[in-house]
Amino acid sequence: MSPRPGFVLEVDRSTPPTLFWHGEGWRLERLPVGSRVVYPPEPHPALADPDAAIRHALEHPAGDSAPLSSLLHAGAKVTIAFDDVSLPLPPMRGPDVRQRVVEAVLDAAAAAGVDDVVLIAALALHRRMTDDELRHALGSRVFDAFAPHGLLLQHDAEDPDGVVHLGCTDQGEDVEISRRAAESDLLVYVNINLVAMDGGHKSVATGLASYKSIRHHHNVRTMQQSRSFMDRHHSELHSSNWRMGRLIAKAGVKIFQIETTLNLDTFPSQFSFLQKREWEWSLRDRATFHATSTALERTPAAMKRQIFQSIRSPHALTSVHAGEVEAVHDLTLADVHRQQLVHVDGQADVLTMGLPYICPYNVNSIMNPILVACLGLGYFFNLYQGKPLVREGGVCIMSHPTPWAFNPVHHPSYIDFFEQVLAETVDPLEIEAKYEESFATDPWYVHLYRTSNAYHGVHPFYMWYWCAHALQHLGQVIVVGGDRAAVRRLGFKPASSLADALEMAEDVVGRDPTITHLHNPPLFLADVT
């Protein structure tokens, strides 16, 4: 049966309650009659033989590029960079896409007799990956061949000798990337394009860059002018990265980009009800839903997190393209749109969404309040092309328990950001002006970023800037079922139930507002006209 496209449901009295994510758990909520629910397209079928497809892509590149085998020769200095643990979400079942691609590339390198090969996890300013996470992403064969010899590196943006300044773009943006990558004969990038924001020149220009470079596009002004950052033709974030990427190419760095797309079959069969339309739930789905909801209510938070973080997704490969960056990316975006695009007519007064337990920045970790805000107002709000799903001055209602809890190993700078910076002000521009510099250069955060598994000191700021467009656009943000003190600290309003939240929203948008609900999983991209 071919997968059905996404569509917009108009809620009537016969519509069953809608599933809302609520962190590590879910709720069924009744949306008022007349609300619209955007349902994503169903997962497309995967490629029958992914390994063959990958090998084919490597030898039949797109754009102005020679096949991989002819780019490799004995004595060449080759670097293979790959996307870090923030993709895909949730982490996929073995073998990971990156494992397949990297093994194919290394087979070619071994056949050509290349000795000098180094693997780099393109972290940008994210946290270093643990050995288990690297082993999961690359597979045991690659890990055991490279890690013991120190050839499996993680990008260190704060190593003064490890980055090299390639120049400035015509807008004065510094371009500074990993020295090893810049000085290689061939830089192969292995990317996973989960959403339209990923890939293209952003892979190298951000993934292997330093703070000095990244701050030119990770700032409030750029994010406010990215409408949205899922739409690269209307995104200042991408324009900046494209300028940087072209400068990198002109500086002589030879990049062989390999991009992959997934079919977003996000949850294993036990949780299939999450991806199904509520009126199509079978008896088994309904039983599983009720059993898990009841069990989860009685489970302590720590155990719930462990259960959910251990879920492995059945994501499958739907396309793979390799070759020159821009040509590859255009093909990839077409595949992403084919899988994810849903047409939505018009904006609403109120946008509702349930937030899951995972975002790119809390894999195997705790979702702290700042990440809740980023997931809702940063990612989900921006899953649009054209116009936002909610009108200017409208209200966004998010459902998440928003615990006042932080992982001190992964997110140390987030704790200080939440306790001290947000206590004073929630305005992104004020925060940027007053605090970003001191957090970015604090030697303790730099030390933890370089040696432990901590996000860079400036990273919570980026999470907040990700919300800048939404904060500018919306009239109010309400969080249903969240910890009151934490929600207040974020500058949002806490509500105990969806009905109360809608009542509160009416104070801002007027009586009987129009409502659009984002039904996820899986992810989608709304084309709003």
Binding site: P408, V409, P412, E419, P443, W444, L448, S452
Partner: protein, 436 residues
């Protein structure tokens, strides 16, 4: 004359200690050897002594320690049973050259009060708190009024005081402000002991009366580069901000806040911040418990100083950080004379000025009559949680005036909370008695 008397009874002190361990601060008040007694008026111990009738008398942390049986045994030689608690006293002098004047009593009993001539070097220099003849002279041992069998104390209808202990209260200063003078003097003295240099970074641990007055004293008499107050409860946090703290943090946020403030590194032990390599220059510990001392040592920089302002008992503290980081631990007790830029001035004079300048009378949150002493003590023990700072006994209003030498009959006074104006008397209040 009614007074709240503390008698020697080791079993009851032990029981009070146990009760406090279970019920929290001031939990021992029900079983402690404390009672509201009716006694004969005290004789004057010598010339230059006056009778004083208290108007207001404050409840201090050291009083609560005594009630809970938690005071160190160190004090045994310098208190004499039975004694009357209460050393923060504003009252009216009954007789002598200052008769009728409103005064604040400086409770420390130095050489002058004890009739020791010539006075020791410290008393001669005005530093009575450092008196070297403490416990001698013609008075029973007692380091302060409020711990001495011969003098009485503030929690009573009347006590005796030496002329050298009395400080006139200016007319424009209300009773509430006057009762804050003694605690403020302790805070000012602590601030001078800390010797904060301009630009130094300071943390004040504890936001009860002592912590808040220390904050005010530091703001007025020093120029710290950054002043961080640690406060748990909302009323305390508000007051700390109002009294001049640059940053107010919760106890569990302190280490992180200090790390950010000083951009120091931390030695991790499996958690992200557990031992700072840097820290602030001076820490004022206005709590005096094992955990507050441990916190102080955790956030002070190598070569810094920790000033112990709150009275400690026997605490268990790991002194390895103190040794390895060459930290100075200074005690700050009572008051005397301070070396200011304007010369040597008595701490009490400075306290009068600070109380007026910083409006410290707003720290008086609740008043109780002597009869409700158990509630009063309990309130003082949980002051932070209940949104109060200083709890005082309102003796002038709750007791009926009476002639000297006449026994009393019980009255039913009222309790007032945070009201600056007196409430109306209850209708059952008895009339003035004469010659009963």
């Amino acid at each position: 004359m009614r007074e709240i008397l503390v008698e020697r009874s080791l079993p009851r002190f032990a029981a009070a200690r146990a009760a406090a361990a279970l019920a929290g601060a001031a939990g021992g008040v029900a079983v402690a050897p404390l009672r509201l007694a009716d006694r004969e008026e005290r004789p004057l111990p010598g010339p230059d002594w006056q009778h004083v009738t208290p108007l207001l008398s404050g409840i201090c942390g050291s009083d609560l320690s005594t009630v809970d049986g938690a005071s160190s045994r160190y004090f045994e030689a310098i208190v004499s049973f039975p004694f009357v608690l209460g050393h923060e006293i504003v009252g009216v002098v009954d007789d002598g050259p200052l008769a009728g004047a409103r005064v604040v009593v400086e409770p420390v009993l130095g050489c002058l009060a004890r009739g020791i001539a010539p006075p020791c070097a410290a008393c001669a220099a005005g530093r009575k708190g450092a008196c070297e003849r403490i416990g001698f002279g013609h008075l029973a041992p007692g380091l302060q009024t409020g711990y001495c069998a011969d003098t009485g104390g503030g929690w009573s209808d009347g006590l005796v005081a030496h002329l050298s202990q009395l400080h006139r209260v200016p007319d424009e200063l209300a009773d509430d402000a006057a009762v804050m003078v003694e605690p403020t003097a302790c805070a000012i003295h602590a601030a001078f002991v800390g010797a904060v240099q301009p630009g130094e970074r300071v943390v004040v641990l504890g936001s009860g009366t002592l912590g808040l007055t220390t904050l005010a004293a530091l703001r007025h008499h020093a120029h710290p580069g950054a002043l961080v107050a640690v406060a748990k409860h909302p009323v305390q946090r508000e007051m700390a901000g109002a009294l001049g703290a640059d940053q107010v943090v919760r106890p569990d946020e302190l280490e992180r806040a200090v790390r950010r403030l000083t951009t120091s590194l931390a030695l991790a032990r499996g958690r992200s911040t557990s031992r700072l390599t840097g820290g602030v220059d001076v820490v004022f510990d206005c709590v005096g418990s094992s955990s507050s001392l441990a916190s102080s040592l955790a956030v002070v920089r190598p070569g810094g100083r920790v000033v112990l302002v709150g009275m400690p008992g026997t605490v268990h503290v790991d002194l390895a950080p103190l040794w390895q980081r060459e930290v100075a631990l200074l005690g700050a007790y009572a008051y005397g004379a301070e070396q200011t830029p304007d010369g040597v001035r008595s701490t009490f004079d400075l306290a009068f000025e600070l109380v007026a300048a910083a409006n410290l009378e707003r720290l008086v949150s609740a008043r109780y009559p002597l009869e409700r002493y158990q509630e009063a003590v309990r309130h003082a023990g949980s002051a932070g949680r209940r949104g109060a700072v200083k709890v005082v006994f309102d003796i002038g209003r709750s007791s009926t005036p009476r002639w000297r030498g006449q026994p009393q009959s019980a009255t039913t006074p009222t309790v007032t909370h945070e009201s600056p104006t007196p409430t109306h008397e209850s209708p059952t209040h008895e009339k003035l008695e004469t010659n009963a």
